[in-house]
């Protein structure tokens, strides 16, 4: 159980975890927009 301090753990791909959080929320927004278009296209 040798954990680094959370502050020391850099995320992969991005310089900070905030970018990951923004990515997850942006992905959700994108999905909602795509689902909205999907609903409208086929209704």
């Amino acid at each position: 159980m040798e954990n680094q301090h959370p502050a020391d753990e850099k995320p992969p791909l991005f310089p900070s975890w905030n970018y990951w959080y923004v990515l997850v929320i942006a992905w959700l927004v994108l999905l909602i927009v795509l689902f909205y278009c999907f609903t409208k296209t086929f209704s």
């Binding site: 954990n3 301090h5 990951w20």
Partner: protein, 566 residues
């Protein structure tokens, strides 16, 4: 089921058990048994989180939900990605920093022993009972569809996984979940492909989507706000957020998955990836249901998908009336078959007027069919008051058993078992860890050897397994089991989440104020439920907010303000 189906079913289940037993080697103490020495990479954490949340009912019920109500159920998961972000910011670093085995350990560091014991006890009651019901729910459906004995189906559904869960603890649970999910996703993809393949030759995937959409089954987004409507974008984001936060943040069956990661980074990645994949995954499962709806426009659908229940009513004095309704329903089905072909041709032709006209005709017949179906359901209830009038959970498996080729039926039935095993194994593991870490070791036996604690941990996993199977054997008479599980959760989740919210965000509130606020809130929640004042779905929010409010007030009157030391 054919011999080939039995070979596939038994072979798949045996393979999983052997794999689980093989992965069970090397357990030497509680740390390896419950945390796997915190060695899991993020992708195992991710699959374990998904495998724990996706129970058998997920794969049985979701396609049926899309069949009856369209795909809007996916909005229920919109709050989940936001909850994953909050967990990564707040919960994960603290759980890792304190190196806890269970979420409730944190409550003693933040508050005191009595608050920890209260939260862990509420979890044990809720998770123990709901796991028993989770064993029974798919067993009832399978035993009804395939004519199996319910007692033995419960034993296999809840019993065989105990072998590797007792032997291998968290490691066996996580690695078997990974393997199980590969089979589950493969099987579900094949089922989805088969639905389209079995449609008439001129109806492909695109045409099936167009027909499904015209029949309002692709209603993924509903923007209209309505307090009475469970599934719209607003209830999905707000209600789904609180539900996901309490489930992933305070339920040990989930916390126990991501605290096994080898670092905060791996835990966070597992949770964030879950935030990325969960919504699309549910979308695909629901899409299969929307396609099954199109399938049953072209081919005969029974008036009620629980055909064992139908057969029961046929043997009563209501049998003749039911037969007349079935005849009318089948006649309407034939009309719908002609009308759906007309609609598909109109869509192909592209004339808006012709499409509108064909759609209107088909919808009118479908509405009439629904009325006849509702009359049949009323008749079933009249003939057998104990019957569950909801056949949503039977729709997808009815399609599987009656329409899929030999071999694939066995695989899909195996998937139901594997999905059940994944979530039940995680539940047993979490029940044992909470019992041993939060109750046995903390209160009754603080100074035993690592070997003793390992032995006790295995024993409690076995005890909880037996307990859950026993609950399953009695749960069959409780009515709609899906709703019973949700009601049980809503009794306790809100209060437990409230305790954690106070712990994280109200640093000046102490243990005594939190403990008594939780006790009072739990009583109030139960009273509200029994008086039937509000729908049970609101109890999560009420319980959580009550704990926060009362803890603040009690702190003002009972204790001097204190500053949390963690």
């Amino acid at each position: 089921m054919s011999i080939l189906d039995w070979v596939v079913l038994v072979g798949t289940l045996t393979m999983i058990i052997l794999y689980g037993v093989w992965k069970s080697r090397g357990q030497r103490n509680m740390e390896s048994y419950f945390l796997d020495n915190q060695s899991m990479p993020w992708y195992i954490v991710l699959l374990s989180i998904i495998g724990t949340q996706a129970s058998a009912v997920t794969f049985i019920s979701a396609p049926g939900q899309a069949y009856t109500d369209g795909m809007r159920f996916v909005q229920y998961y919109f709050g989940l990605p936001i909850a994953m972000v909050v967990l990564c910011i707040t919960f994960v670093p603290i759980f890792h920093k304190l190196k806890v085995y269970t979420a409730y350990e944190f409550l003693e560091r933040r508050f005191d022993l009595k608050t920890r014991t209260l939260a862990s006890s509420l979890f044990l009651i809720q998770r123990g009972l709901s796991t028993g019901i989770s064993i029974c729910a798919p067993s009832i459906i399978l035993s009804s569809l395939l004519g199996w004995n319910l007692y033995w189906t419960n034993m296999i559904m809840g019993g065989l996984l105990i072998i590797y869960t007792v032997a291998g603890g968290t490691r066996a649970v996580a690695y078997t979940q990974t393997f199980q999910l590969v089979i589950i996703f493969g099987g579900m993809f094949l089922a989805g492909w088969m639905v389209v393949h079995l449609l008439p030759a001129d109806i492909g995937f695109k045409e099936a989507l167009q027909v499904s959409g015209k029949m309002d089954k692709l209603n993924v987004i509903v923007t209209k706000f309505d307090w009475q409507d469970k599934y719209n974008i607003w209830s999905g984001i707000i209600g789904g957020f609180f539900l996901a936060l309490s489930y992933f943040g305070t339920d040990q069956s989930q916390v126990g998955r991501y605290i096994t990661a080898k670092s905060v980074k791996e835990s966070r990645l597992g949770l964030l990836m879950n935030g990325l994949v969960k919504v699309p995954m549910q979308f695909v499962i629901l899409l299969i249901g929307a396609l099954v709806f199109v399938f049953y426009l072209y081919f005969r659908a029974p008036i009620f998908f629980n055909e064992a229940q139908l057969a029961k009513v046929h043997r009563t004095e209501q049998g003749a009336a039911l037969m007349a309704l079935e005849k009318e329903y089948d006649d309407l089905g034939k009309i719908k078959q002609a009308q759906v072909k007309n609609l598909a041709a109109a869509i192909e032709g592209g004339s808006h007027e012709r499409i509108a006209s064909a759609k209107s005709e088909l919808k009118a017949t479908d509405t009439r069919s629904q009325e006849v179906r509702n009359s049949a359901i009323s008749l079933i209830k009249k003939a057998d008051p104990t019957a569950d009038p909801n056949d949503t959970n039977y729709i997808f498996l009815h399609f599987v058993v009656n329409s899929l080729p030999k071999g694939l039926v066995g695989l899909l039935i195996a998937i139901i078992f594997l999905a059940a095993w994944g979530s039940i194994a995680a539940a047993l593991n979490s029940l044992a860890s909470t019992t041993v870490i939060d109750i046995y070791q903390r209160i009754y036996n603080k100074e035993a050897s690592p070997e003793h604690y390992l032995k006790v941990s295995k024993l409690w996993t076995l005890v909880w397994g037996v307990f859950c199977i026993a609950v399953a054997q009695f749960a069959g008479s409780l009515g709609s089991l899906i709703e019973v599980v949700n009601v049980l959760g809503s009794w306790f989740y809100g209060v437990i989440l409230g305790i954690f919210m106070v712990a994280f965000y109200m640093k000046k509130v102490g243990g005594t104020a939190t403990f008594w606020s939780a006790v009072v809130s739990e009583i109030v929640v139960l009273v509200i439920y029994w008086t039937g004042t509000v729908s049970f779905l609101w109890l999560n929010a009420i319980g959580c907010l009550l704990v926060i409010l009362l803890a603040y007030l009690f702190q003002l009157f009972l204790e001097k303000p204190r500053v949390a030391n963690s």
